[in-house]
Symmetry: none
Subunit: 246 residues, 2 copies
DNA sequence: CTTGACCCTCACGCTGCGTCAGGGCTGAGG
DNA sequence: CCTCAGCCCTGACGCAGCGTGAGGGTCAAG
């Protein structure tokens, strides 16, 4: 098969195939005239390349992995996942910062430096863990760190799922009266999840309450797990629901 | 203030300051010897630069924005946010794919091509919208596009929630006999949601049916809303349930 | 005078291709 | 036979945001 055909078949450009060839990632056979000729074996390999590339793994490393026939692949996957999750955190912060900025610019339309300051605030707030030092006592933080060790992937997945569902439900109930049973039921679920996060530890709970009180700086308690759910309306709404619920 | 001091103060490297200088983003004064001298005004500007850079906005654009004194800033923010959210989706898919791959490698530890295939599956499933072109006729697609216009955010949120719930329920019922009432009830809910999606339009419905039949390429009908819910077990299971349900 | 300690300006490196630029081989039509 | 279209090839620069030397000037202390 010639380049164009092959490329179309696999969904990559001819240029990319040239590139992979030069990198030694995928070296097809050649005709006498020097034309590249691809086989089905090449297709398999290319699919693997594409897959790993999709995961954000650099081509050089892919080359190494495929040449060593995937012996270190599990490690690579783990590493890559943490890297991506890291990136995702950054992205979430940025998105949140923009939302804040957009809100602060929306009503009054007082642009200029004010909202840039706003952005900076959000960044600084979430940047390092300085905020946690504001809200948690040293002892509480030690306990949090402990719990982090027990924080298994399965548990993580479960909690993550529960938060996901809760968020969806809250989002759908935004029109509901905060004092209604429905809303209050959501508050109960919310508190339960938070309790699960804090392990029912009162010290940590206090920290969270301070955090609730300080509306301006509302980051998520289980922020890391809840990355996808940055809709600020949800947070505002729950804030109101909590208030009237006591 | 000299470069090093200034850089440390603002949290950027000297090299970066040189860079900004060359780009015309931040031009400090110079001493007779040609040394850069920064003022507090420069600090303000730098902070703005850093903030916007954090949002992923390219330096060139930042220059434009600051020079025009942020008049188009709201638009830029909106655009940037959608871009970032797009990236986030991709990241999510990649992370999900890795998780799947890790799981499939975990128990049996049969690495090699199997899990790469797995990764590919996840990608293809969620990747572009090529699948819709395979299953829908041009006319049907036109209708879908129409419906997209009526696709308000509220409606979206509701449907999204219903799918979320359904997914959770199906996931919890994976052990159930596909012929059992429970399973069949789930199938009914499923079909109802699909019907809602297709608007009861028979043409679109046909497309979906073809889609069901072609198990290998099972993407989600409301894919965009459901990105987080890629558990293929759910899909497989529902496939079986549908089959025996008729 | 020498040695640091800072400062400066090139200029290449990295990632993954996109995009010309300059040319070769081949079959169809004039 | 010539030419033009169409597909293939190999460089090589461009982009984003700096990191990282290389090579060299300035100024004060020893």
């Amino acid at each position: 098969m010639n380049v164009q055909e092959f490329g179309k078949l696999a969904g990559v450009t001819v240029r990319a195939l040239h590139h992979y060839d030069r990198l030694g990632l995928l070296r097809p056979q050649r005709t006498d005239a020097g034309y590249r000729v691809y086989s089905t074996r090449d297709l398999e390999r290319l699919e693997q390349i594409v897959a790993l590339k999709f995961l954000g793994i650099p081509l050089k490393q892919i080359k190494g992995m495929l040449d060593l026939n995937g012996l270190e692949l599990p490690d690579a996957l783990r590493m890559q996942r943490t890297v991506l999750e890291q990136k995702r955190k950054l992205l979430d912060r940025a998105i949140l910062a923009i939302r804040e900025a957009e809100q602060s610019i929306g009503p009054g339309r007082r642009a200029d430096s004010a909202l840039l300051t706003k952005i900076i605030e959000v960044i600084e707030m979430q940047n390092d863990s300085s905020w946690s030092e504001k809200y948690y006592s040293p002892e509480a933080r030690a306990k949090i760190d402990e719990r982090r060790k027990e924080w298994t992937p399965e548990l993580q997945a479960q909690v993550s799922k529960q938060w996901t569902e809760l968020f969806a439900d809250v989002e759908a109930a935004l029109g509901e009266d905060p004092e209604s049973e429905k809303a209050q039921a959501l508050a109960v679920r919310w508190k339960a999840l938070v309790a699960g996060f804090t392990g029912g530890d009162p010290e940590i709970g206090e920290g969270l309450n301070k955090l609730y009180a300080d509306k301006a700086n509302w980051p998520a308690p289980a922020k890391e797990q809840m990355a996808p759910f940055g809709n600020p309306k949800v947070w505002e709404y729950m804030s109101r629901v909590m208030k009237c619920g006591g």
